[in-house]
């Protein structure tokens, strides 16, 4: 893969709701921040990839809303429907193909504008499963039970993820839910769907993120603080919940292995210093860490309970606070990438991970993490 860098990042704050902002307003905020961060103007952007979801936006052709604000009028443009990590992948391909030197990638959603369970229920097959009334949360609850059964992970260990991430969020000015909580608080919070308590679950949020990708040649010309793309891959598991072993994440294993191979990483647990993973639910962070080979042969829950994965750890997981602290769907994965870029640049301020040189960002499409996209980024070429 030809050397390509992320040369600009920008995002809105993640909020429970943004009544003053339309999708376009959020896009403008994120895009202009990314351009300012990169030290470039719209003229330096060769093409644009927006990322959005028609169901979440309540709008077929959801990309239409952010066109003007993303500067697409006289440019080649396309739209990925899925998490921002997938949008960024296509944006990367448009540079690797030699067609463009820079790509602006945006990703947005406003979860506050709809009823999230109806939106995610719509991802279930109308002929078979939809009438059961499953949504992303109840399906995840089923997955949590299976995962905990397979691995012996306890509710306390899963709760610790929430404790860690909400506490981390206190240092992140963009996070929606900084909180000083402990395991008792999580387990005392309302049971939404057994075994998931309210504080085990990410909120539904509004937010938008934008990044600027650039080829090596353009990075040399206009990039001020590039972060290099070392490896990236995505894979989808089967669709029907009953066709999958929900306690495992084979698609994530495959995506991570492919990304590591591209990056020349043979021992991810020791070669990666920071990982921003898709913690829609606390237990999932543990599942994903294990599937991505970040904790050797041990259980992630055990390691977490022993004090691993904090901001000071040799492998910090979700030092930004993760999705548990603010979850604008679609933007979520692009924000993970943005947070890793901050870390690798040494710009993460109060939640900076020491000596961060290689980072991992992770995004998901589909119920119970059906489809995964893994990015490995590095501070050096």
């Amino acid at each position: 893969m030809k050397q390509t860098a992320i040369i600009g990042i920008g995002m809105t704050k993640i909020d429970a709701q943004k009544p003053r902002d339309t999708f376009a307003d959020m896009a403008w905020e994120a895009v202009t921040r990314a351009l300012t961060d990169a030290g470039i103007g719209f003229d330096d952007i060769d093409n644009v990839i927006t990322t959005s979801n028609d169901f979440w936006d309540g709008r077929t052709i959801s990309c239409m809303a952010v066109g003007d604000a993303s500067g697409v009028r006289h440019k080649n443009v396309s739209c990925v429907e899925g998490d921002g990590t997938f949008g960024a992948f296509y944006g990367l391909c448009r540079i690797l193909s030699g067609a463009y030197g820079t790509t602006l990638v945006t990703a947005h959603s406003k979860g506050s504008e709809s009823v999230s369970s109806l939106i995610t229920n719509a991802a279930f097959d109308p002929l078979t499963d939809r009438a059961l009334g499953l949504d992303a949360l109840t399906a995840a609850a089923i997955q949590a039970g299976m995962y905990m059964h397979r691995t012996g992970t306890t509710p306390e260990e899963a709760a610790l993820v929430s404790v860690k991430n909400h506490r981390n969020a206190r240092h992140n000015p963009y996070a929606q839910l900084p909180m000083d909580i402990d395991v008792e608080d999580v387990l005392a919070s309302e049971v939404i769907a057994d075994p998931l308590h309210k504080l085990d679950c990410s909120p539904v949020s509004d937010g938008c993120c934008a990044i600027v990708l650039a080829s090596e040649e353009r990075t040399r010309k206009i990039g001020r603080k590039p972060v290099w793309i070392k490896g990236v891959a995505f894979y989808s598991d089967a669709y029907y919940l009953g066709d999958r072993n929900l306690a495992e994440a084979p698609a994530l294993v495959k995506a991570a292995q492919s990304a590591y191979a591209q990056a020349g990483i043979s021992n991810p647990a020791s070669e990666i210093q920071v990982a921003e993973v898709y913690d829609a639910f606390g237990f999932q962070e543990l599942m994903w860490i294990e599937a991505m080979g970040l904790c050797g042969s041990e259980r992630a829950g055990t390691l977490l309970a022993s004090g691993r994965f904090g901001i000071q750890d040799r492998l910090a997981v979700n030092p930004s606070g993760g999705l548990l602290s603010g979850h604008p769907v679609i933007a979520a994965g692009l924000i993970r990438m943005t947070e890793v870029v901050r870390q690798l640049r040494g710009e993460a301020g109060a939640y900076q991970v020491d000596d961060a040189r290689i980072g991992l960002a992770h995004g998901i499409n589909g119920i119970c993490g059906q489809s995964h996209c893994v990015w490995v980024l590095g501070s050096e070429q």
């Binding site: 709701q17 307003d25 719209f42 309540g58 003007d68 500067g71 109806l118």
Partner: protein, 156 residues
């Protein structure tokens, strides 16, 4: 297999939404409701006036802050007359045909305002015809606070 009945699974899906109008659009709808005035916004660079007002000029890629009043009169920029029944998006009922629909260039605006056009006399509907808005008595801060536009002079 061939003669077995084919099953069609049917049902309605309801997806309720609360869309944020945003701070720019709110200026427009508030004026429309309270004073029956139309507000546009001017780009500081190209000087074009956009209706409805929005934050960014899509051409110049600069932020706009200069609200200006436009209309209420305007001219038909283009139009059509619907002759087949179409569901009224607001009521979910069929809108009786024929009815007019088109894009109005409000006085002072550079972009067009989409709305219904009254067609008491179809022969008066033409590009360039001068039109005026007809407002609802009870307004809700919606583009439907304007009931339709009607031709006041098709010869001008």
């Amino acid at each position: 297999m061939q003669n077995e009945p084919l099953i069609i699974e049917s049902g309605d899906v309801c997806q309720p939404f609360r869309y944020a109008v945003g701070s720019y659009g709110s200026v427009f709808l508030k004026e429309l409701k309270e004073t029956c005035r139309f507000m546009g916004i001017r780009c500081p660079k190209c000087r074009k006036v956009f209706v409805p007002p929005r934050r960014v000029c899509g051409e110049c890629l600069v932020e706009m802050t200069d609200f200006v009043e436009v209309g209420p009169l305007g001219r038909i920029a283009t139009f059509t007359i619907l002759r087949y029944a179409f569901i009224d998006p607001e009521t979910g009922e069929q809108k009786p045909v024929p009815y007019g629909y088109g894009f109005i260039r409000l006085d002072g605006a550079d972009t067009l305002f989409q709305h219904y056009i009254d067609i008491q006399d179809e022969s008066r509907i033409r590009i360039g015809a001068r039109v005026e808005p007809v407002f609802a008595d009870r307004r809700k801060a919606s583009v439907r606070d304007v009931l339709y536009f009607r031709v006041i002079d098709e010869t001008a």
